[in-house]
Symmetry: C2
């Protein structure tokens, strides 16, 4: 079965571009909010999104190269590497996005600090929303890789 | 390829038992820490783990029934249902565990409130650790379901 988002295809390249685009947007929003170093979760979000930018950009370059040179990236070894990379990166991104979201809910809803203090809550929120979108796209890539990997192991003649 | 944790097998039943066991332990630890209603993230953790207890317990019963009656649960329709259920539940659990972990890190490390106040930080930590283990087991089940599902779609003669 041919599914969208396979490595070395236009849809795969678009998915990778979306991943590093939203991750970069999340970092910009967080850094533009000022000093984030006093919150471990927000620093971790920046670090994790930074890692996702590097990872997704590298794979986008690989997809673009494969498209240009007409190379096939869909062999068990490279798909295994992509699957492991996607899995690790997506878990890091989701953990970062959720822990930051937890703190925003604590500030915005539980303690209502956003109305009373001068915290840039809106920028924090925008950053976390972008982080969730970046994670969602990466998770879709991961599921595609797992699907391709399963199809290799179930079709020994491939 | 036969992998561990398939529905209707002893390993599948053990994985489901572990899932609801750790989820229940996480709820007990959180509730024994006292009033959690002032923290949205902790209330959400209890709700999400409660959902996982119900879900995993129902599937453990189904596995036990299939084992006793020697029924085969590995058909495309039921595996699709298990995969969707596992996916939704595991995302809810991970989001809950990460957002609670974010708050614990904020309290323990960033503001060092745990030493100065009488917050039951240790019980919060134990609860979150159990939640992460419960999520890990559920995520393994989800990957097994996805693997079986992919093998169905790639073996049309099955």
């Amino acid at each position: 079965m041919k599914i969208l988002g396979r490595p070395g295809t236009v849809s795969g390249l678009m998915m990778r571009t979306g991943q590093f685009g939203f991750a970069a947007a999340s970092i910009s929003a967080m850094l533009s909010s000022g000093d984030t170093s006093k919150f471990t979760a927000f620093s971790y979000l920046v670090a994790s999104m930074g890692f996702q930018v590097l990872y997704s950009f590298a794979l986008a370059c690989l997809d673009a190269y494969a498209l240009k040179k007409n190379r096939d990236l869909q062999n068990p070894v490279s798909v295994s590497f992509f699957a492991i990379g996607d899995w690790v990166t997506s878990m890091l991104s989701l953990a970062a996005a959720c822990s930051s979201a937890g703190i925003i809910v604590l500030y915005l809803h539980d303690f209502e600090l956003c109305n009373r203090s001068h915290l840039p809550c809106l920028m924090y929120e925008i950053s976390v929303i972008f982080a969730f979108i970046a994670w969602g796209l990466l998770f879709m890539s991961f599921q595609v890789m797992l699907w391709i990997l399963a199809s290799f192991s179930n079709n020994p003649h491939l």
